[in-house]
Symmetry: C2
């Protein structure tokens, strides 16, 4: 049960997963808003757009032609943030020993993919049924499996259902050993997305990025200190009992607003059992994950009856790592949506948040209550 | 001298001050942009706006009347994010020991101020002369001094010039001991600012927020490991010699794009000598800081000939802390501006950045070169 006093006093909550704090100001929700407004997206889109570089059969920026795909389609990002092959970096001797100590860089190589979730230009995860989302999960699993280190304890047990091997031969023969695969989706113009065709991205790098690195350290610490217990198993169990922050759950997954949420309607989907990565899921668990994804995204759209913008990302075991790291990893998905009060008023994480500490106004419990209340049919379907 | 290879390869740079990494993708600058565009702000504003709650003589949201101030004006934020007085928080016994371990909150109290930089509705720091900016620095110093713990080694030496005591008696008689004072400015609608009247904020809390906390730990570590040397003294010296990332410098301050910058045109202003906080500055140093602020903000506006949005914040010694913490602290200012390519195209720090690691395209050296090149008169003045 939530403590009622936390609805009234300014306080901080501890983010177990990052080991950091968040400032909560529940008394501040009455603040009037005179600032900038978001433009809600046009909701009437064709199911095929001849100008879209992601639609089946169309030609992309650099001349390649998309196949006539029927569920998902993966291709190499035409403007990858990391290069696969590049000149080797041998730091030059610096002008002074101070410069050597203070100015540190290291090379990163990797590979970036784009994944279309559907051939239809005008759907989103919120419009898709769990059965239609399963192939997305299987495609993610497929890519993750292809990049797993053969030495990883995960590789031996990787028998989760995947889609057929990708048509693009290149995608399936990584010739470097990468450390981490970040699967994510930016949805909506407010989150820097430039194309409404439903798609996500996958950036795979030789480095373990900051955020999963921070989380992994906390997960390992908990596992060590609590005699082998898994933090997110314990957390999902606790939340499932407390109920205040739960938005949706099924047998395998808990979905809710984390106790330490930063974004107004932030949601985390957590596997209730200890699952290290996508490859650990059975066919049944894949269906339940698809259901959780459908429930979360549909509720988001229903909340303000709009295409709800967000960034979504999967955190799971690194592709290669120590046995300890792999075993302490725990599959979960973060949703970071910016909207605060309506389809046009967002929360800005700016001055204080950037310089000092993330700050939120409505409490996670209030956010969860509203999201619990808007399940059911997608608002767009009802209108039609 | 910068290493030319870092203009071509994907790499990471280490942020000394936070102890974290940033991904740099210099090869990716050619990416076309089809996403959302910012609306550049109207540039024609009156010098007095009867509707503005910050203009001299006007009435604010909750009925108080602003005095007819002539340089700066400070008042308590009508919607403070932290409360000064509130019910005490005594965590209730939780339902289970798991809940106790996983769901952690603590009370925070504090005080939030708004500071108007000028009586004129239509100026910004970029329009103000260093002599006009000095009162802003003195007002910050004034507030910082008022909240300094009498036990702090800083209190004894606090003889920096300040403005006259604030008219608002309350502001000068804090009755709680606070730990940290975060001074910041959000400028422009893109950074969540809802009123163009030049103003900043000051949030003072019983907690040491995350960001200054992280930095302080790194500063202390360096100080300890390098036999008492100060990281930012060494850093400013190195940058001043390397020149590639310098935008402006005078005798007391270095201003440039940090080696590990995240935002495209991020700038840090660093005191060259070891100065722990505002109270350490002499009158001459205050003038030089004002000059650095004027140079940075004017160059920003000149870069894309627009009112350049940013969040700006001061990091300095905590109001109270161990002798070690106070002595390791080093005064510096961060500017985090979102624009990337023009007055309307910003960098989105979204999916990968939120889930994995901050990522940038143009290198800090390229950004600094462009900012060095746009000194001189403010573009708006030239047009008139
Ligand atoms: O207090 P303001 O300027 O209205 O609000 C702005 O700055 C605050 C501090 O960075 C943020 O918490 C708000 O989200 C933002 O809109
Ligand atoms: O690759 P996209 O979708 O064009 O780009 C978007 O997502 C990237 C990964 O989060 C960000 O680096 C970009 O700033 C953003 O605009």
């Amino acid at each position: 049960m939530a403590e009622p006093i936390l609805n009234d006093i300014s306080h901080r909550r501890f983010n177990l997963l990052r080991g950091s704090w968040v400032l909560v100001s529940p008394h501040r929700t009455k603040r009037p808003w005179q600032g900038s407004q978001e433009t809600p997206s046009r909701t009437i889109l064709p199911s095929y757009d001849p100008e879209c570089y992601l639609c089946p059969g169309n030609t992309r920026a650099q001349g390649q032609k998309n196949p006539k795909f029927t569920n998902t389609f993966v291709f190499i990002n035409d403007f990858s943030a990391v290069q696969e092959d590049q000149e080797e970096y041998r730091p030059e001797p610096k002008a002074s020993s101070l410069a050597t100590r203070l100015l540190r860089a290291e090379s990163v190589t990797g590979k970036c993919y784009v994944i279309c979730f559907s051939p239809s230009h005008n759907v989103t995860l919120a419009d898709m049924t769990p059965a239609e989302i399963v192939p997305v999960i299987q495609t993610w699993t497929n890519l993750y499996t292809a990049y797993l280190s053969p030495a990883s304890p995960l590789a031996k047990h990787a028998n989760a259902p995947t889609t057929a091997p990708l048509s693009n031969g290149d995608a399936m023969t990584p010739h470097h050993q990468y450390r981490y695969m970040q699967i994510f989706e930016n949805k909506g113009a407010a989150m820097g997305c430039s194309n409404p065709h439903p798609h996500g991205q996958i950036w795979t790098t030789t480095s373990l990025p900051e955020e999963p690195g921070l989380e992994l350290a906390q997960l390992q610490k908990y596992n060590r200190e609590q005699g082998g217990a898994h933090m997110l198993v314990d957390y999902a169990e606790t939340e499932s009992k407390e109920k205040d922050r739960t938005v949706f759950e099924n047998e395998s997954f808990w979905a809710g607003v984390p106790y330490w949420a930063v974004w107004p309607f932030e949601i985390m989907i957590v596997s209730k059992k200890h699952r290290r990565a996508l490859v650990d899921f059975s066919a049944e668990e894949q269906i339940q994950l698809a259901e959780a994804l459908a429930e979360v995204t549909r509720r988001y759209d229903n909340l303000f009856e709009t295409q709800f913008p967000y960034s979504m990302g999967i955190h799971q075991a690194p592709l290669t790592g120590s046995k300890d790291e792999i075993e302490a990893s725990h599959f979960h998905i973060h949703f970071y949506p910016p909207l605060l009060r309506s389809a046009t008023v967002r929360k800005f994480l700016v001055g204080y948040e950037l310089m000092a500490e993330p700050q939120r106004d409505i409490t996670p419990e209030q956010a969860a209550e509203r999201l619990r209340g808007c399940g059911g049919e997608l608002y767009r379907t009802k209108i039609e």
